[in-house]
Amino acid sequence: MKKWAELALGVVTSMGGFLEVGSIATGVQGGASFGFQLGWALLLGTICLAILMEATGRLAAVSGRSYADLLREHMGIRFFIVPLVAVLIPSFLVLVSEIGGVAIALQMATGIAFRWWAIPIALVGWFLLWRGTFSIVEQGTAMLGLVSLVFLVAVFKMHPEWSAIGAGLVPSRPDNDKAKYWYLAVSILGASISPYLYLFYSAGALEDGWTIKYLNVNRITAGVGNLFGGGLALMVLVGSAIVFMPRNIQVDAYEQISLVLATPLGRGGFVLFLVTLFITCFGATVEITLANAYLLAQGFGWPWSENMKPAKDARFATTYTVVILLACIPIALGADPLKLTNISMVISAASLPVTVIPLLVLMNDERVMTTHSNGWLGNIALGSIAILAVALFVLAAPLYHLGGG
């Protein structure tokens, strides 16, 4: 019974925590410009994320250590600095975008310009981190995040051609605007596979006290939970495709996105969109802030835990305090949240190789994984993700030049 509750909680957590500013923005832009055609990028991104989370979760459950901890120990400080910087920079930018998402939701609800909301949001997020425990931060925001199911309702109400949606899950070449198509594919992938997600997940496994007994919970949480979450993100893309594409609306501002739900569901849909944007971005804000603090604390061997009193892990608590306060500054200065989101997703995609490739090696190190190291199937999967990651690293910048902005 308890096991089932744990499984359900895991699935709900990954599902409710899946949507955030990046998946909403890239999904809507993809749907508006190319209909259902980019569904495959979302599917691919979700599968990659599920595999990476399963691997880092297994790593944590078997070794009792987080991915960042093992990276530092096995790469040495000299090489650890590379993934450290390559994760900190994009995840900080994504964090800024998430704060922007929350601020835009509040702007749309109240009419007060988003920049005034940046500091209050950072303070509320900080307060949650300061006083809350790990399960409140993770599961609390994920539960509320289930409000994002409204996208599923909206899509059902519009009676899409499901076979056409299915056809979009198979990659195909665009008829026109090739650069934009591939740029959007890269940003959808970047939004789905953020390094902070699996670093947070492996630290979270330790916060929740996972042991080797949790391998099944890990498998289901990472696999089923993310597939459901990816399904929700697909609904965002589909909804946008149905509402925007026939009208030739391109998405240049977050305010436009509210029309995706207002059109089929009326006022209720509009309000629920604002709530979804607010909750999911806020959840991601606190999670990314924590992920940055975990990465530094584990990399440098400081005491860390969201379940400890801040006085007991002062460097860790100071880190998340500084990170969240710094991240609200660009929004308070009026940076365009959508432009920022687009840039962050591309940089995030480009940063993947330095965290994916070492994972492949660690998962095969029997000194770390004992009898639970990767089998050939796991190696093919992770190896393919590593190749994809290198491709994204090479292609991200040129595609942004040609198709983005």
Binding site: Q107, M108, N248, I343, A350, Y400
Partner: protein
């Protein structure tokens, strides 16, 4: 023979060069991403038409009371902003007389939508 571990692999690359190459690669990507997308006549008319369509949808939803006044006003502001930005861009990219006429038409219909939505919100 022991299989190599992460530590062995990084040990071999102890020279500072390999490391610096990584850092500069990451920096290059970061800097290169700060660029901007390609713009031309076609992309800018598309963008302007998209705002016209957005306002049409916004007016419709406003009429149905599906959205609040705040969002309608923000969309209006964004559209006015976009029109001000597109006008000189289209003047720059329109190369032939027919393109100039078409661009004028696109901008005018956006202006018309702006006016209509302004009236609807009043």
């Amino acid at each position: 023979m022991p299989l190599p571990t992460l530590a062995h692999l990084t040990a071999a690359a102890n020279g500072p060069r390999a490391h610096r190459a990584w850092v500069s690669a990451v920096l290059c990507v970061t800097l290169a991403t700060m660029g901007c997308a390609k713009k031309d006549y076609k992309s800018e008319t598309g963008r302007t038409r998209a705002w016209t369509a957005t306002l049409e949808l916004a007016r419709q939803q406003h009429g149905l009371r599906a959205t609040n006044d705040a969002v309608t006003r923000q969309l209006l502001d964004r559209a006015i902003e976009a029109r001000a930005k597109e006008e000189p861009l289209l003047a720059h990219y329109a190369k032939s007389d027919s393109e100039r006429v078409a661009a004028r038409g696109v901008l005018d219909s956006l202006q018309q939508q702006i006016r209509q939505l302004e009236q609807a919100t009043r």
